[in-house]
């Protein structure tokens, strides 16, 4: 069966080139980067080169890049590493930020969770007014993982800078898909995750602007300039760096390709199926994100039908696995729970083709029609029971 992966916000397949780059670091150049001998020096060089690559990809200095075990650790480190005080964030952050904030609320911090508008945008004016004397950090994600909304990061960064408050952004979903300029955007800290950009899982980075003081989350041998102890995952870091450089290299072509497929999918669905709505912002949106709400049907049943046709999608953020509550993001943009249940997220990737989208557009109307036919929510005699496609 044809298998079409449309869940790139959950994770991506490691690029073949990245895998090839990593392999020598398992059994050959396997040294501990802290060791003095040649095995160690080879590992140290690989680590240094990878750090340079990631720094270059961000326009940062090598001393500002700290490797972590992933986006979650980067987010935790950024927030927990800052002195206790007031934190400003949004209601649509990833659980790695939100649950860290909940934890910090129990440990002496005060958190303001800002609302978003129906497109998922934070109002920079709200940030400005939320700033207090004891505000230590503003953490607003660059792009949302569920609906793909891109925030006005540059404006927020300027407000933070003008008020002498640190600015952290979770760029796990945005890196490689929309431009990031650490200087113009006045970003002090930025989280990255390798497995969202065709790199291996279990690796990430936190950019920390030179001069920013933060405390480690993990204590030990003093690796990563003391900010993150633990023997460096050389193979993983080398793979991550390769993935980051490919992301920069392919940025133009990737975004063009993804935007084309995105528009093809959105328009195709809208043309063939009634009572469908696009969740999130119509334009300030990641090039690979399509989040659609199908009235009268339940998302997981749709997901299962699509899966049976080889199509992998998500009904929300796969990262928040344990919960079955309606998506906090879709609630925050003002959807009622009964409308949220029929939402499906398609996130496109580099390897997807227009044939993939055609295939999806081919099977979707039938699936929606089938589920609507057994749905008690479709009013009797309504033409809506079946798709028009």
């Amino acid at each position: 069966m044809k298998r079409i992966y449309l869940d790139h916000a959950a994770t991506t397949a490691v690029d073949r080139e990245v895998v090839q780059t990593m392999i020598p670091y398992f059994a050959e150049t396997f040294g501990n980067a802290s060791s003095l001998h040649s095995f160690g020096r080879d590992a140290m060089h690989a680590l240094g080169a990878a750090r340079q690559t990631v720094a270059d990809a961000l326009g940062a200095e090598t001393g500002e890049i700290f490797f972590t075990s992933g986006g979650t650790e980067s987010d935790n480190l950024a927030l927990k590493g800052v002195e206790t005080g007031h934190i400003i964030t949004s209601l649509i952050e990833h659980p790695a930020i939100l649950n860290t904030c909940r934890y910090l609320e129990n440990h002496g911090c005060d958190v303001t969770y800002l609302p978003v508008d129906s497109g998922g945008l934070v109002d920079p004016g709200n940030i400005e007014s939320a700033i207090r004397n004891d505000t230590k950090i503003i953490s607003i994600m660059h792009a949302n993982n569920e609906i793909g909304t891109i925030q006005p990061i540059a404006e927020i960064g300027t407000i933070a800078r003008d008020n002498g408050v640190l600015f952290h952004t979770d760029a796990v979903q945005s890196f490689g898909k929309t431009e990031t300029d650490l200087q113009k955007m006045n970003i002090d800290m930025l989280s990255l995750s390798s497995h969202k950009i065709y790199g291996p899982k279990g690796v990430g980075a936190l950019y920390v602007r030179d001069g920013t003081e933060i405390e480690p989350l993990m204590h030990g041998g003093g690796h990563e300039s003391g900010l993150r102890s633990g023997t460096e995952n050389v193979a993983g870091i080398v793979g991550f760096a390769k993935a980051a450089s490919l992301a920069i290299e392919r940025f133009e072509s990737d975004t063009r390709h993804l935007t084309n497929l995105r528009e093809m999918l959105i328009n195709g669905v809208m043309d063939t199926i009634d009572d469908v709505h696009l969740n999130g912002h119509p334009t300030k949106r990641l090039p690979n994100n399509v989040n659609l709400r199908f009235d009268f049907v339940e998302g997981e049943a749709m997901l299962l039908h699509l899966d049976l046709r080889g199509i992998a999608v998500s009904t929300g953020s796969a990262c928040s696995s344990a919960s079955k509550d309606p998506s906090h993001v879709l609630l925050a943009i003002g959807l009622a729970p009964e409308n949220i249940h029929g939402s499906i997220r398609f996130t496109l990737g580099r390897e997807n083709t227009s044939e993939d989208i055609e295939y999806v557009l081919g099977v979707l109307p039938e699936i929606v029609g089938k589920l609507r036919a057994i749905s008690p929510l479709v009013s009797k005699g309504s033409s809506r029971g079946s798709s028009s496609g």
Partner: protein, 127 residues
Amino acid sequence: MIGIAIEYTEKVMDHFMNPRNVGEIPDADGAGTVGNQVCGDVTNVYIKVTDGRISDVKFKTFGCGAAIATASMTTELALGKTLQEGLAITRDAVADALDGLPESKLHCSNLAADALHAAIKEYMAKN
């Protein structure tokens, strides 16, 4: 709207893909609705009763794969049964008939049996 990765038995998948007894019975002798849209699961069950037996049964479900499959299986189990037998169809019986449901989905199997019982009770109250 997020669930942990789930796996269904072949029987669940069969009933999910080819649900039996889908529909409404406009002149039903009894009807039951369980669940609500806000929670993401609604199941309606309609029955016709002839000579004290469930002579026809139909359902409609808004819900996940497990909800659809259990509703379908429930109607299959109910068809031809006496009202007492119908009332004796438990959630567990439906889950067993499907060769089991994932832990996280056991609550879904509640809906259909409950809707069936509600339909039978409605009929009994009227007659």
